[in-house]
């Protein structure tokens, strides 16, 4: 047990979790924005935009995140010289955020679209009847209700996103949890179960409240129908 507590002095476990939380925060923000735009495209009356939105979702939802991550570090950075920061560590961090965003935007898009499906047809007809165009109807009538209906599925996407930040290890983000756990176990194989449980419980502690919170919010904010 003594060796176990000493590990925490040697390795900055909380710091590793902090890296993952930051990854999750930025990726969630960007993919929510991108996902909303894609969802708007998919429900818009314009065929080319619908097609683009559908193509985006089908492509990125079916690609393993690991490939997108490897693409971000190996292809974008080393082949195409795309650099998002002059600082080595920050650059990989941002590339990882970019990969997470590209992947999860497809899922946010679908979550929002499922929220749109909860809005009754009559609402859209009423919006049309009082003379609102597509963008106005979407902004004033459909989307506010759709977002409230999409909280639960968006919560699922967010939870998946938090866990998926560990995949950043494959894109060269070395200070996050999965790479740190790997190093810690390699040097302390006798404590491997304790080390694994520490990281695992860390994720349980992060993920369960998000689930409870979004379930609570989705009930609290549900539009009474």
């Amino acid at each position: 047990m003594e060796g176990f507590t000493a590990l925490f002095e040697q390795y900055d476990v909380l710091g590793a979790f902090w890296v993952n939380i930051q990854l999750a925060f930025w990726a969630a923000l960007w993919s929510l924005i991108l996902g909303t735009v894609l969802a708007l495209m998919r429900i818009s009356p314009i065929p080319s935009l619908q097609w683009f939105g559908a193509a985006y979702v089908n492509i990125f939802r079916n690609t393993p995140l690991t490939i997108i991550m490897v693409f971000g570090s190996l292809a974008l950075w080393s082949q195409l010289n795309v650099s998002l920061s002059s600082d080595f560590t920050t650059n990989f961090f941002r590339l990882a955020v970019l990969s997470l965003t590209v992947y999860h935007a497809a899922f946010f898009c679908e979550a929002i679209r499922s929220g749109v499906n909860t809005v009754p047809l009559g609402q859209a007809e009423a919006a049309r009847a009082i003379g609102l165009g597509f963008l106005e109807a979407a902004r004033l009538v459909i989307m506010p209700q759709a977002f409230r209906g999409a909280i639960a599925p968006m919560g699922n996407v967010l939870i998946a996103l938090v866990k998926n930040t560990t995949v950043a290890a494959t894109a060269g983000v070395a200070l996050e949890t999965s790479s740190m756990m790997k190093t810690m176990i390699e040097f302390n194989p006798n404590l491997m179960t304790q080390i694994f449980l520490t990281f695992a419980i860390g994720y349980v502690i992060i993920v369960i409240p998000i689930g409870l919170l979004t379930t609570w919010a989705s009930k609290k904010l549900a539009v009474a129908r």
Partner: protein, 301 residues
Amino acid sequence: MSAQNVLFDAPGPKARRNIMVGNILGVLLIAALLWVAISGLADKGQFDAAKWTPFLEWRTWEYFMLPGLLSTLKAAAVAVVTSIVFGLLFGIGRLSAFKPISWVCGLVVEFFRAVPVLLMMVFFYQFLSKSTSVNPEQVPFYAVVIALTLYNGSVIAELVRSGVFGLPKGQREAGLAIGLTPGQSLRSIEMPQALVAMLPALLSQFVVILKDSALGTFIGYTELLDYARRLAAGEGNILPALLVTAAIFIALNWLLTFAAQRLSRRLGARAGKVLKIEDTIEPEGIEAPVPAAAPAKGAAK
């Protein structure tokens, strides 16, 4: 495309003109985006024939892509079977009337759904290679399968549970009324119906298993992505190699999704409250895939 008729009804002449203008602008915008991407790649020499010709040679497929695909499919297939077994065991366990069993099963399921698959893979890789006598060459394979099983099995356990909860209550009551015990009613009346109802969701969970098998590359399991990287190391064509690999995954997963949608449409009438695909298809749906609040219009896109 059920959302279509939600937002607008048949457009009039003016709206039709606006839509056409918007359509043309949209096409131009998308074309411009693609042009920027493609010309950017061409400038970096990514369209040089040398980078792509390897994929026209049988050698590349024989020694890299096909063996990679084979081991990806092998891990995924084994994980599918073991996760179904795990899911059924713990799903039924969670429905058990004997509280301690249902609590333990609930705890296990909630735990493994919350832990990132990659953490489990890394742990089992180290665990198997240091604490057991498993053939070292086989260790990455076992680690991948165990991690995929624990996570996806837990999701399937939840599918089983919500499938049973989605059944009309009368089913169970009828079972009890003709003198079955709750366990018998679960096994012979509720489970068969729940399994039919969850088939589409189960199929889309296979997409998750297939995608997550690519994580094996991190612990040295030689699957498709790993072979693609080896090929790229030799040929210096990482971008084409990743694109071809991604295309293979997309094709496979799209087929699975397509099958799931067809199935859910066919079962739609039969299975009563069908699980909504949208809720479960997200890889990772940690929340119990609740039977749809709103009726799934035309089976989830």
